[in-house]
């Protein structure tokens, strides 16, 4: 549904987006990760036909954003970073206006507004002035606006910024529902734990370059080929560390307070055997768990010093 093909965008000498390529399939949620100024918003604006690439192209449902922006717009819902709301307008008027703007007429428009209000749980706020809405509600309204013409592709720029935990959870659920309904969703966020939970695939962007792209698990495995294990024992962990360092299948043993962290070569069966061996040695193991990198760790590891 979404394809970025060697996309470049220069502003004078600044390379805002440099050779970015990825694809998002229908029903997939793609997380776009990067620090401020990495080029996320620029590439999303190009996808939304609000800017033109310097070279390369982006396609939505097979249509080029350069050559067929009108066809792209009909298939795409864009939620920009800012709210983009009007004064002296209530929730229903706002959605009704955008439904009209997308050419929806008569009962079709009424149904579209009702559907969006139901999905975003804004039905009870139908006549409430937009200026009086909370940030979370405004964010829902903007998502509703992006959905009013039932697009197959959604581009959401920082939709969770500034939301409280409850509103974030609700937004995450809505995005998951949209993906389940077959929509391709491209979402950027600074809150990486948020993205890790809802995205099937992520792309890590820094200084305009895409450093890694793929499912979080695949990137994690790529960065950390050996399984990391976290171990907690009762008493002094140093004898355990010494014992572990004597084994061939264990490396990089680190003692952090009463816990140990080490790399283990082997599958889950080998891990179980290692645990049994430790217990047979008389170590009082209270926790033995895989120590997986969070998306934040992955992000930090990928972006560190790679692009100058």
């Amino acid at each position: 549904m979404i394809e970025l093909d060697r996309l470049h965008r220069y502003f004078g000498d600044t390379k805002a987006v440099c050779d970015v390529s990825f694809a998002v399939a229908a029903g997939e949620v793609f997380g776009y990760i990067g620090p401020n100024g990495a080029g996320k918003t620029t590439s999303m604006r190009i996808l939304a036909t609000l800017d033109l690439p310097s070279t390369g192209d982006a396609r939505v449902d097979g249509f080029s954003v350069v050559d067929d922006p009108d066809r792209v717009r009909r298939r795409l819902g864009f939620m920009p970073d800012g709210f983009g709301t009007y004064p002296h307008m209530n929730v229903w008027e706002y959605l009704d206006f955008f439904a009209r703007s997308y050419g929806l007429r008569g009962q079709e428009r009424g149904r579209a507004v009702a559907r969006v209000m139901e999905f975003t749980l804004l039905g009870s706020l139908r006549n409430k002035a937009i200026d009086a809405l909370s940030k979370g509600m405004k964010q829902r309204l903007c998502l509703g606006r992006a959905l009013i013409h039932d697009p197959g592709v959604l581009v959401l720029d920082e939709p969770a910024a500034g939301l409280d935990p409850r509103a974030r959870i609700e937004l995450r659920e809505m995005i998951s529902h949209l993906a389940a309904a077959g929509k391709a969703v491209l979402v950027s966020s600074h809150i990486l734990t948020e993205l890790a939970e809802m995205c099937h695939t992520v792309g890590i962007l820094e200084q305009g370059r895409l450093l890694a792209v793929g499912p979080v698990e695949a990137i994690r495995k790529q960065l950390q080929p050996e399984a990391a294990v976290r171990l907690e024992v009762l008493g002094d962990p140093r004898p355990v560390a010494d014992w572990l360092e004597g084994r061939d299948d264990v490396g990089q043993v680190q003692v952090v307070e009463r816990c140990l962290r080490f790399q283990h070569q082997g599958n889950r069966q080998a891990e179980a055997e290692l645990l049994r061996a430790m217990i047979e040695q008389g170590f009082a193991v209270v926790e033995f768990s895989p120590d997986r990198q969070s998306l934040e760790d992955v992000f930090l590891q990928v972006t560190e010093g790679r692009v100058q």
Partner: protein, 538 residues
Amino acid sequence: MSHVDNPVMVAQPASPPDVWERLDARLERWADHLNPILVKETRQALKSHQFLITFMLLLLACWLWSVFAPVLLGPGFAYASKGADVLYGYLLILSVPLVLIVPFAAFRSLAAEQERNTYELLAISDLSARQIVTGKLGSAVVQIVLYLSAVAPCLAFTYLLRGIDIFTIMLVIYYALFGSLGLTMIALLIATLSTARFSQVMLSVALVIGLFWGWFFAVIAGWELTVESASWLGQGEFWYFNGLLLTVYVGYFALLLLAAAAGLGFVGELSSATLRIAMLLVVVGFTPWVTGLWLAENGDSDVLVAYASLVGVHWYVLAVLMTGESPHLSQRVRRSLPTSWSGQALFTWLQPGPGTGFCYAITNLMAVALLGTLGIGLAASFGRTAASNDFIEMAVFLWLGVCYVTIYLGLGHLLIRYFAQQTRHRMLAAVLIHGVLLAVATIGMTLVQLLLTGNEDYTLFQLPNGFWTVSFVCDGYDQSALVALIVIPVAALLTLLANFRIIGPELRRDPAAIPDRVAADDAEQHVPPEPAPESPWD
């Protein structure tokens, strides 16, 4: 107790919709055909404090004037001719919202779309840039009509007084409506000129100053209108002038509207074709009025000089802007390029690009010069004395003028190509380059001559100065005039040839093929209707 608890109560069938509900439903259906921006703007405007306060103040001012005018205008109010004075008072009150508030509100409305990040949401919807501009304009019309409606009873009241007639009242309303609408259109165009915050502030300051000047003019013109217009009714010149004014107004209004829409439009959209046609139609609409006047004045060359000068300025200014266009054509626009030889010959000039714009302006100017020359020739042959006396002088004026415009525009175009090819602000660069070129050729050369020779008469130093040279050559002949008549056409020809060298690729743009995906989408959207059954068994 609900009807569920009471077995005797039965659910009532839904009552048929009453008159108001039916009317509401019908209005809703009609509103479907309205511009969405108009619907939104009207909803917002009617709820805004600005509109409510202005409307209430307008009513209050009218009421106060109705009460105090008899007091201020003295005891003869009932029988003396004081109607015009009272009408002028209402006109002054009305001029504040119509000349100042409505245009500025329209400007702010469009500028605020950029500031509030809502313009981008409109840009990615199905709304075209033209719909956005016409929607804003429509909202201004609604407000103008509401303000006029509020003052209408007061205007009707003046008809009951002595010294005023219905014609004057109608004329006041006519000018107020069209004046306010014209200013609103200019304000909307200004709002599209820049999206940068600082530029918007500067533009809004300039607009406010301009509107206050406009208001000052309206106050003076309004007095003339209310006091003098009754005597204009029987004068043919008055109707002629209004017809001419309306034609020019409609032409430039359409041009400004299209320019504003082009300013808002997506990069690479084919908005130039309609703009260029509108540029031509302005001249085409203006020409019959001037021709009529010229014939009525027995072929007076002053009429032709004024007409040719105005048309020259029209095409020069527009060509300056056209030479600032980007030569880039998106694939989508290239798909719509004509493929036939005749189509390319006719429509290439309407495609965006500095080269096509330059050629279009020069071709139009040459056409005007040719028609002018033929017209004078015909008029002279039919015995129009003024025309036969001035034939040579007018032909020289027309063609030398065309040569100068060709030289200025051509050199400017070449300089833009070489110095401003890569700039993001091509339009601004074009205006600056042409402006500097014209200033150097006219004021610069005059200063050079004065500094070097101290001579205040025409010399060959002034060859680049089109204004002085044309007037000098038309006034009489000497050696300098002869040199100008040889050098300037040759220079114009050389400039044209130099430009054609770089315009070539712009004229040879091949149409792009339609991608399969686009063709498939078109086919999906234009599914032929199923054939209707031809018999009951089908």
